[in-house]
């Protein structure tokens, strides 16, 4: 397969994942804002912008944080070059570029969703529409992944696509966790307290993990359990451990197909060794924030090594 096409598949799935995760983050914030007082709601919207790293461009055009302004900025803001509408356009552009390496089912799922969402996001998204829009973005991800699982040849393209998905997903989970950790647990003495279970529940919602967590923990919401769940539990598909495991499968398979292990495999093994056998206490001892930053750095290094090893660029 062409290096450029492998790059196209990798980024098509990164952008798809990013759009879906952004929609989930907004949905969770929306729910939070609806059930809380104005001050909490404002803090919630502020944290959405912070999680996405958009403070500077957002504050350049807005004085305060309110839902309508935030979701329009995130979804379609003209001065936000990473808005969801642009992400979805990038999904489609990459899918078009890799057109001969994806099935018609996948292409049609991408194209049909893009047509609908691009039209929806062409106009400001009001209060009454936002739920529908966010749901449609999430479903776009579901449909593309469904078509992908059912129709894609399990060749190298499959593994590049999945590598993009899981690197992006674990980045997203790490960022969401990191942001809430900072807000809620400024000092270690808070660890273990149930300062604001609503905020933690909100974290679970942003990664679609509320139900699974509650089922596993009989509804006990506390920071430690949630960190364990989102970092170390490899049964939950958005946890860091799950994403690591999936990425390991894909990079191992790619190395097997190519008959050699590249730099990306070595970096992956290092990252795996870091998390292997770790307990939540050890993470807290090291510092959750530092731990998460380390995960993000390692992910970035792995992504760069994949691009290098498999000749994504000339």
């Amino acid at each position: 397969m062409l290096g450029r096409t492998a790059n196209g598949l990798f980024w098509m799935f990164r952008y798809l994942e990013r759009a879906e995760n952004t929609a989930r983050l907004l949905e969770a914030a929306l729910r939070m804002a609806l059930t809380r007082d104005v001050v909490t709601a404002e803090a919630e919207w502020r944290s959405v912008i912070a999680t996405l790293g958009l403070q500077r461009p957002y504050e350049a055009i807005h004085d305060g944080y309110d839902g309508l302004a935030v979701w329009n900025f995130v979804l379609r803001g003209a001065s936000n070059p990473g808005n969801v509408r642009i992400m979805l356009g990038s999904v489609r552009a990459n899918a078009r570029m890799a057109r001969i390496n994806i099935s018609s089912d996948v292409w049609e799922a991408v194209n049909a969703n893009w047509m609908r969402l691009d039209a929806m996001l062409a106009r400001p998204v009001g209060q009454t529409m936002v739920g529908e829009v966010l749901g449609a973005i999430r479903r776009a991800g579901t449909q593309v992944h469904g078509a992908f699982d059912g129709s894609i040849l399990r060749d190298e393209g499959y593994h590049f696509s999945r590598a993009g998905t899981f690197i992006e997903r674990s980045d997203s989970t790490a960022r969401i966790l990191d942001m809430k950790y900072f807000l809620l647990l400024p000092s270690l003495s808070y660890v273990g307290s149930s300062l604001d279970s609503g905020q933690w529940e909100q974290v679970l919602r942003s990664v679609a993990g509320a139900r699974a967590y509650n089922w596993l923990n009989a509804g006990q919401i506390e920071a430690r359990g949630i960190v364990e769940f989102l970092v170390l539990d490899d049964r939950f598909p958005r946890s860091l451990a799950f994403c690591r495991k999936a990425l390991r499968e894909d990079l191992t398979e790619l190395a097997r197909m190519h008959g050699s292990e590249g730099a990306c495999t070595a970096l992956m093994h290092e990252a795996d060794a870091r998390i292997e056998g770790l307990t939540v206490d050890q993470i807290f001892d090291f510092g959750l924030h530092e731990f998460l930053l380390d995960c993000l750095d390692r992910n970035m290094a792995i992504a760069e090594a994949i691009a290098e090893d498999y000749r994504f660029h000339a």
Binding site: M1, L2, G3, R4, T5, A6, A93, R96, M97, R99, I100, S104, W107, E108, N111, A112, M115, E156, H258, Y310, R311, A314
Partner: protein, 476 residues
């Protein structure tokens, strides 16, 4: 432009009776409830949009993807009509290849005084780099599109030869897919020649022209596209996909060890046959347009030393400009020793004094085209132009007469399209697609029917509001 007088209708004769080729279709059509047809018509549009069969249009702002409108009434050709067309097309394509070989070798046709030398050496499409070189298999035009128009029951004319990189074949294939999906019962009632093997035949045809450096095994075929913003990108991806070939851009390619190689995830891999959908001038920045990023630096050297096959060969454009077109009857006769089976449209070469005088006197009745123009741009359609437009065009014509040819306004045949008010006649043309390989000339039955959707209009180009129809050749 508007046709003068009455024109030939493909479906109905002058008395309003259905022609035999359309009899069964019309019977079927009459049985379908009106509301259901309306719904089907909308469905077709959605189907094309969903599958992304679009072409890009560059407007004043940004590139925009548009659908080429599809009309669900087929254009039907009888087996007997097709056999005649097939023979004429084959003869013409054979002559085109012989002509190109001759032009880049001994130029017998010029020596014989049958073609003025100036037409070659002043021709923008002429490539000095091709002189004395014979492409693999001796094939210049692996893929040709011959544009035909009809004016009467037995009167077909060649309007244009497309010997560079003819496009539109993906519409021929998708139109059929769409029709079979929407109206399966029609195809069980009417036996129609299949077109779906085209991509496989194209792949085989290209693989039959491997270069001397080919190292055995499955020949590596790649389609070279300018990229996703090109107007015909959909078609490039479609053909690569259907052929099982790679779809490459200039940035994927590099000359390594005397071969053109593509950057794969495993390193550089040589390409045997490159079906390029990039114009000559962008193909090699070392040989032609130095600023081009669409091509491959050094590909012409590799080509000339037998390292790759380029389809169509560089320099084939010299055979399809409109000044050469006017000599096609002589060209066919010179190389085949036969009278042309398919006539040209009468053409005045404005470079000739007498012709120019005639054209200037009759501008209001003629169609004047640029010699190197395409896509319906840069032309004057006398009958629909204002006095001012004609006056402006006259100046251009007088300033550079050699740059123009003129033709009469033809009474193009019509074929009905579906409208909410029922069937309505619109002008059509036909572009059959021809594959040439050392194994022979292979013409897919039918081709692409383009249709002017505006009432009375004769311009069928998709860039100017034309649509397409499925084209049926009936089985005997």
């Amino acid at each position: 432009m508007h046709a003068h007088g009455s024109n030939f209708d493909e479906m109905f004769d002058d008395g309003g009776q259905t022609r035999p080729a359309y009899a069964e279709y019309c019977r079927w059509y009459g049985e379908q409830p009106g509301e259901w047809l309306k719904r089907k018509n909308r469905e077709a549009d959605d189907a094309f949009r969903r599958t992304g069969i679009t072409f890009n249009v560059y407007g004043e702002n940004e590139a925009e993807e548009r659908l080429i409108p599809f009309d669900m009434v087929p254009r039907i050709i009888t087996a007997a009509e097709w056999r005649k067309l097939q023979r004429g097309i084959e003869q013409r394509v054979r002559a085109l290849n012989a002509f190109l070989y001759d032009l880049y070798h001994r130029q017998e046709i010029v020596r014989a005084g049958r073609l003025p030398e100036r037409l070659l050496h002043r021709n923008e499409a002429w490539l000095a780099a091709m002189v004395g070189f014979t492409p693999p298999g001796g094939i210049y035009t692996h893929i040709v599109g011959i544009d035909l128009v009809r004016t009467g029951p037995d009167e077909f004319f060649v309007l244009e030869d497309n010997a560079r990189t003819p496009s539109g074949v993906s519409y021929m294939l998708e139109n059929r897919e769409t029709m079979m999906g929407m109206f399966p019962d029609l195809f069980s009632r009417i036996p129609v020649e299949s077109v779906s093997t085209y991509p496989r035949r194209l792949a085989r045809s290209l693989a039959a022209c491997v270069p001397p450096a080919y190292g055995g095994g499955k020949p590596v075929v790649a389609v070279l596209t300018p990229g996703i913003y090109n107007a015909a990108y959909f078609e490039h991806a479609f053909l690569a996909d259907q052929m099982g070939a790679e779809l490459v851009e200039g940035s994927d390619l590099r000359v390594v060890g005397g071969r053109v190689q593509m950057r794969t995830t495993r390193g550089y891999q040589p390409i045997d046959v490159l079906y390029r959908r990039v114009d000559d001038e962008f193909l090699d920045p070392l040989s032609f347009n130095a600023g081009s990023v669409l091509g491959v630096p050094g590909i012409m050297d590799v080509y000339r030393s037998g390292g790759i096959t380029i389809a169509n060969a560089p320099g084939t454009g010299v055979a399809d400009d409109k000044a050469i077109y006017s000599f096609m009857p002589e060209i066919v006769e010179f190389y085949t020793g036969e009278k042309p089976l398919l006539p040209n449209v009468q053409t005045w070469r404005c470079v000739d004094k007498d012709s120019l005088a005639y054209v200037l006197d009759n501008l209001a009745d003629l169609v004047v085209k640029e010699v190197h123009g395409s896509g319906g741009y840069g032309m004057l359609i006398g009958p629909t132009s204002s006095t001012r437009e004609i006056a402006a065009f006259r100046e251009k014509l007088v300033a550079r007469p050699a740059n123009y040819i003129a033709q009469p306004t033809l009474a193009l045949s019509t074929c009905p399209i579906y409208t909410r008010a029922g069937l309505a006649p619109r002008h059509v043309d036909l572009r059959p697609f021809v594959l040439v390989s050392p194994e022979g000339i292979d013409i897919t039955p039918g081709g692409l029917t383009r249709v002017a959707l505006k009432k009375g209009s004769l311009v069928v180009n998709s860039s100017q509001g034309g649509g397409t129809k499925d084209t049926w050749v009936l089985k005997d």
